[in-house]
């Protein structure tokens, strides 16, 4: 606040300067020359560095842009690969599922066929066993009948072999041997 008041009073004071805004002419000239020299120096010495810096920055940015573009291209390629791979995976999944279905169907068919065959074999074996059992029973029965018959015949024959029968057998042997030559 004090500074503003001081400035207003200074503008009103002609002894301080010929114009409240512009400096003295000499100061303008000296100041202008000094500024020109500074600008020329800056242009002469700092300009190339600035240009070089700007060029490097531009190249860096361009390089970054190129890298980004390359990365993008690569990403797009990768994305395409992934999409293709996804497509392949889907196809492979479908193929595997189809093969699994086929194998399952084949196993089912084989299993049914095997079961049918085993059942048929079991039935045939059961029938054969039954038949064999019947045959054995028949044979055992026939054997028993034959054994009993033989025993009965032997007993009957032995009982009938009295002395007369023995003599008849002996005489019959002698006659048959004497008749043969």
């Amino acid at each position: 606040m004090n500074l503003i008041v001081t400035a207003l009073f200074a503008v009103e004071d002609p002894s301080q300067t010929h114009h409240w805004l512009l400096p003295e002419t000499a100061e303008i000239i000296y100041g202008g020359l000094a500024s020109t020299i500074v600008f020329v120096g800056l242009y002469k010495f700092a300009g190339p560095m600035v240009k070089k810096s700007m060029k490097a920055r531009t190249e860096k940015i361009q390089k970054e842009l190129d890298g980004a573009s390359s990365a993008r291209s690569k990403s797009e390629v990768d994305a395409a690969d992934i999409r293709r791979a996804l497509g392949d995976i889907e196809a492979e999944r479908k193929k595997i599922l189809a093969e699994a279905d086929t194998q399952a169907a084949a196993i089912l068919v084989d299993g049914r066929a095997r079961l049918v065959k085993e059942v048929a074999e079991l039935e045939a074996k059961a029938v054969a066993d039954l038949s064999a059992a019947r045959g054995r029973s028949g044979e055992e029965l026939r054997g028993e009948i034959a054994r009993l018959s033989s025993a009965a015949i032997s007993s009957a024959v032995a009982a009938s072999l009295d002395d007369r029968a023995q003599q008849d057998l002996i005489e019959g042997f002698i006659k048959s041997v004497g008749a043969s030559k």
């Binding site: 034959a146 018959s149 033989s150 015949i153 032997s154 024959v157 032995a158 072999l161 002395d163 029968a165 023995q166 057998l169 002996i170 005489e171 019959g172 042997f173 002698i174 006659k175 048959s176 041997v177 004497g178 043969s180 030559k181």
Partner: protein, 175 residues
Amino acid sequence: MSDARIEAYSRALFEVAQAEGNLNIVEDELFRMARAIEANEKLRSTLTDATIPVARRQQVVEELLGGKASNTSIQLVSLIIGAGRGRELPAIVDRLVQRASSEQQREVAEVRSAVALSDDQTKRLAEALSKSTGRKLNLKVVVDPSILGGLVATVGDEVIDDTVRTRLEQLKTRI
């Protein structure tokens, strides 16, 4: 027992029987004795049992044959038993019978019958077998009840079997 030993014993029996002049009787009695030993397991084991003293076994023979066989036959069997050759007695006797038959130009014909044959039947049977085989035969009849009935004659390798036992066996086979 080796064949040579059986042969030696049979030759000794033959010489003794021949010297005693009753070869036919002795070989016939010994033949029956041998068949009896073969058929009787108890008798066979008694006569061949080394744990029974020899004198006791000879006594069994004498008691068994006493009055049924000639003294020569009894003494010869006692000799065999005393020599510890009771097990080989049938083989020795068979060789003796063969030797005696050969001496008479005859072949041994063994006939088994369920019952004893009469002399007439034995004679007619010997004639019939001689006629049938065409050979002179020394007939030996063995009573063997196990054949039940009928006769079976063995002459060498030839067997004429007409026994009830064989017929029953055939019948059993057919049944």
